[in-house]
Symmetry: C2
Subunit: 236 residues, 2 copies
């Protein structure tokens, strides 16, 4: 079982994901939000590249509309990209057509992989458990922001690599080092050291960051089935 | 609140469903199966007219394939149209692309209605509760079989009309009379007096009929959202 990490969605090559499990991380905020939605009873997330495609799916299947552009809720959408909006009263039993800039791109980049799982600080322990159970070559895909690496994604990747005991390569060693540097102050790391985190604070989403920093809040792993993202169930 | 009943999907006119709640009944077996699937944790049923359309949805969204032609499971499908196949271990958390001959046609015929709910003997009490709460004009749509009325659908419709105290028209009176005639021996009625029931017995599905005769097993109402059929939740 080999574990690699790439620091932006743009660095994923189709040939590098074949036969592997891809773990997509976009801590601020798509992967945190997807984990929260599914943990709170959302039936399925349908990721789309464009708001138009999301609207078409919402019309056809009665899905809620969720997602962001420039960090903000899209006009006419039911939900933005704040995990705090995805409460059980809104999402339980509902499908959600979901479009974000970086997270959706990272998922699409992994289209040719054998499996895709969504990780965040909220569900790291359960993702580790799944990877240990599968014992397959794994590529950790940090979504990054507009083609640039995001510190919080790398720290989250480092957490998984550390739990798996999968050090050895310079990139994975570096991610584990960053995890060890920031593991005791994840929220502060995101608010201070992360460019994207600072932008979110300016947009008024500081509470999203505190929430995203919650370690192992949910024992649940979102997995890809078709192009949808669903809870991994026992029979998955 | 006015309640009408039509005895086959073919007799539904688009203008007769506008502004109304349509209650689709196909006791043997589509509505019984949809109720069972959703009660057992299925996330959503996507009804389709053709197996090809079902396959496309299954590929795209990772849905299970369910349905029948000539009463039998379609080649390559995960599930047929027997409610007994839709156990929690198979359907929990899964979406199902679902195609049957009469049930799907009945749902499509009600496309222009304000709302659509799925009824069977299994969930009659809860359907009645919903209709009493809504107090809207209602059309009970018996699916029938190949354009002919099916006794069991009319008996089930009569059960709803009786609970609602909505007699008055010749058709509704007749349905209530049939309900009162058969209410204490629903399984026998389906096995003996129903042409479609007798066919199912010949095909080896006698247990499906016993199951379909179970009154008020589930306090759950499948409702249409977009073109999907989902559990009615509190926030629905």
């Amino acid at each position: 079982m080999r574990v690699d990490i790439v620091l932006t969605a743009q660095s994923v090559k189709p040939e590098s994901v074949r036969g592997k499990i891809c773990v997509v991380i976009d801590v601020l905020r798509a992967s945190t939000t997807i984990v929260t939605a599914l943990a709170n009873g959302c039936a399925a997330v349908f990721p789309t590249e464009t708001p138009e495609e999301a609207r078409e799916i919402a019309r056809r299947w009665g899905a809620l509309l969720g997602g962001e552009r420039e960090g903000l809720r899209i006009e006419g959408f039911d939900l933005g990209n704040s995990p705090l909006e995805y409460v059980p009263e809104k999402v339980r039993g509902r499908m959600i057509a979901f479009t974000t800039t970086n997270g959706t791109r990272a998922m699409r980049a992994c289209a040719a992989s054998d499996a895709l799982v969504i990780a965040s600080f909220l569900n790291g322990r359960e993702v580790t458990r799944l990877l240990q159970e599968k014992q397959k070559d794994t590529l950790i895909v940090c979504a990054g922001t507009r083609g640039e690496p995001s510190l919080e994604d790398i720290v989250c990747g480092g957490m998984l690599i550390d739990s798996l005991g999968a050090k050895g390569m310079p990139e994975t060693e570096r991610a584990v080092a960053l995890w060890n540097e920031h593991r005791n102050n994840l929220a502060a790391m995101m608010k201070t050291d992360s460019l994207h985190g600072r932008t979110l604070v300016q947009l008024g989403f500081e509470r999203d960051i505190d929430f995203a920093a919650g370690l192992n809040e949910f024992d649940m792993v979102p997995v890809r089935r078709g192009d949808a993202i669903v809870r991994r169930e026992d029979h998955g």
